[in-house]
Amino acid sequence: MVKAIVIAKNTFQEALRMRSYQIILVFALLLLGSSQLFSFLTPVEQLKMIKDVSLSGIEFFSALMAILASMTALRSEFETNTISTLLSKPLKRSDFILGKFLGMALVTTLGVVIMSVVFIGLILFKQHSFEISLFSALFLIWAEMLVIIAITLAVAAFASTAFTLIFVFFLFLVGHLTSYGFSLSGEMKNPVLQVIIKFFYNIIPNFENFAIRDQVVVGGTIPITYLLKTFGYGIIYTAIALIVCLYFFRYREV
């Protein structure tokens, strides 16, 4: 575990130096700032719009950050061959993967926290209060990112950079549409298509579980049991993805 933390610290420092990470963060902050442009709406509508756009933006840019940084963190080890020097030392492959995951979790957490602070500041400035349910939405975005980091590492452990990027972005999009697809499948007459959709619905993480902004924006409260269940759901997917990652990495020649 100590060695995993050494890897995590190094991964975190390397990721902070990544230009793409910095650029994404700047774009995200710009988006949050631009929500001020909805001044033509009534104050109540404007607040709803700010919350909706900001939470969507935080989720999208966090995902972008998590995918790009996690993919680079692993692929660059292969491409620059630093991995061969590392694995010639007394470092277990499982510690390496765990370290990469922890490092990326830390980097993404930092990104989510920075964006959240700006978002909270914006809401406090506009309505002089901040609903607890908005914290719930931010917490689940963070939990969703853990799943995305683990999946990105799992794919990057065996696939090329381009494939990893395309596959994980595709999965991110599909993961937000599975519930919709599943509800549509009931109306389909083709049983084969129904089975296929059901299969993917059960396999692909349902990222819509983490997206509670529609409820939060209209002032709804989120039960703590829902938060814990969804967090647990995310942890299970994260653990499965890390096991898959380790399986591929264990037999990878460097």
Binding site: T80, S84, L87, K89, E253
Partner: protein, 253 residues
């Protein structure tokens, strides 16, 4: 105790590595290699480009997986992670995080080795002085020349005070003074009881430090012994002549 009476630091038996490059495309990088290196010995692995030297070193380190065969290092299976506490490795082109400075890279690897903080500071200073990089402490590795990278690589390889050193082309990129310093360092390390396996193209470098050499070509170990034994056996005037005769013989047969 004579070197040949000592226990084996490295024992390889029937090591074969076949790379599968696609449908029906297989390349045998190493073919049934058997070799024993005794503790305290400097063993030179010679061979032209693509002969299988680096593949052999990577298999020993567990970076590649053998198609068949067995490898033991210091009496333990080479896949045992703990055995790597006793190994120092210098890759052909040292690959390190480019944004880190010399002391930072030593700190990073020192922690991987589990070296205590107080011991690590002392060790870092000693090694940076040894490899002549003490006055370059604030320079990130991305600004290092090839020779400087080789030097920091050597410092990393010595960080854990290893019993067994594996050095892939240790003098690449070094000027004549640097090469001589490395050569003297290897002899000093041998005097301190270390076992060294080095691979190189530089035949004269190998000849000057090695107790025994092995010549690899197309994945096969063609000759094994002391340079004087081999030169007598192959009727060669010097090590270059020996190398060429062995390779030519291999091509003809």
């Amino acid at each position: 105790m004579e070197t040949n009476e000592k226990p084996a630091a490295l024992r390889i038996e029937g090591l074969t590595k076949i790379f599968h490059l696609g449908r029906n495309k297989n390349v045998t990088a190493l073919d049934n290699l058997s070799l024993e290196i005794k503790e305290g010995e400097i063993f030179g692995l010679l061979g032209p480009n693509g002969s299988g030297k680096t593949t052999a070193l990577k298999l020993i380190l567990g970076l590649l997986f053998p198609t068949s065969g067995q490898i033991e290092i210091l009496g333990r299976d080479h896949q045992d992670v703990e055995v790597k506490n006793d190994i120092g490795y210098l890759p052909e082109n040292p690959y390190y995080y480019r944004y880190l400075t010399g002391p930072e890279i030593l700190t990073f690897y020192g922690r991987i080795f589990g070296i205590k903080k107080e011991n690590l500071e002392e060790k870092k200073e000693e090694l940076l002085k040894l490899v002549g990089l003490y006055d370059k402490q604030h320079l990130p590795l991305k600004h290092f020349s090839k020779g400087m990278l080789e030097r920091i690589g050597l410092a990393v390889a010595l960080l854990n005070n290893p019993k067994f050193l594996i050095l892939d082309e240790p003098t690449t990129g070094l000027d004549p003074i640097g090469s001589r310093e490395t050569r003297n360092l290897l002899l000093n390390l041998q005097a301190a009881g270390k076992t060294i396996l080095l691979s190189s193209h530089y035949l004269s470098e190998i000849e000057k430090v090695s107790n025994r050499v092995g010549i690899l070509h197309q994945g096969k170990l063609l000759a094994l012994g002391t340079t004087s034994e081999l030169m007598t056996q192959w009727k060669a005037g010097d090590i270059e002549d020996l190398f060429i005769k062995v390779i030519e013989w291999s091509k003809q047969s």
